[in-house]
Amino acid sequence: MKIAIGADSAGFELKEHLKKYLSLKGHKVIDKTPENDLDFFESTTRVAKAILANEADRGIAIDEYGAGSFMTACKYKGIICAEVSDEHSAKMTRDHNNASMITMGSGIVGKRLAESIVDAFIKGEYSGGRHQIRVDMLNKMA
């Protein structure tokens, strides 16, 4: 699977860690933020645009809390994003919301939890069905 990843300066280290982790698992990781001096607005925008351009199947955006990246990502029309700090939310947002992006806080989530969250997010599949009306509604919004 192709995964676009990006982080601001606070999330840089966790991004580097996850990049290695995902690459070792055989995923193609596209690092949208090789530089270590960006703010969350710029890093998240790069990941969201990569998803909208179909460069990647999933996007991961990291900053210190995950909140600024989440606010930013949601504003892009066509992006459904989840701010997560647990595996169940990461799994369910694929299943029910068909989310293409997650955001995490490097100051909130440790490395092992972050690995487990991205595993759940990547493995999770959208179940469609009754959930599609809600996804259609979200996509009509911004």
Binding site: F70, C74, D86, S89, N97, R130, Q132, M141, A142
Partner: protein
Amino acid sequence: VKISIGCDHIVTEIKDHLVEYLKEKGYEVIDNGTYDKVRTHYPIYGKKTAEKVVNGEADLGIVICGTGVGITTSANKVKGIRAALVRDVATAKYAREQLNANVIGMGGRITGIGLMENIIDVFLETEYKETEKNKKWIEKIDGLIEEDSSIGDEHFFDEFLEKWEKGEYPNE
């Protein structure tokens, strides 16, 4: 302080509990529903709750669904809303203080009632601390949605609801 609150049918009783909790604390509460357990769709309530904040009827908003993702994402898709989806107090505090978050979202199947109350308390009590840096972030976030003609449009989702009524979405 006036609070706008909304939820979907998965967590109605949690929302009802929080409405009582807030009223007991002296807050005025606008309850945007849903009001029962009949299957409905979170974007309806995320949008309604968020619009009350944007148009000034309420100061801050609270949204809850199963994971919180769907309803908080829909709130964020309203121009002028900055919603954080949290499972801890620290993020709620940061979002209010640094990002001037005006909506807080939580997952009723993720976070327990005690922690939710704590998150809400801190979110409502924390004040935005404006800096040159965070002011620019906020302007950039708000600027991503140029104009939002859907604000206040109660028929915005009608096309999907009609399809739903006709049974054109699988009911599984």
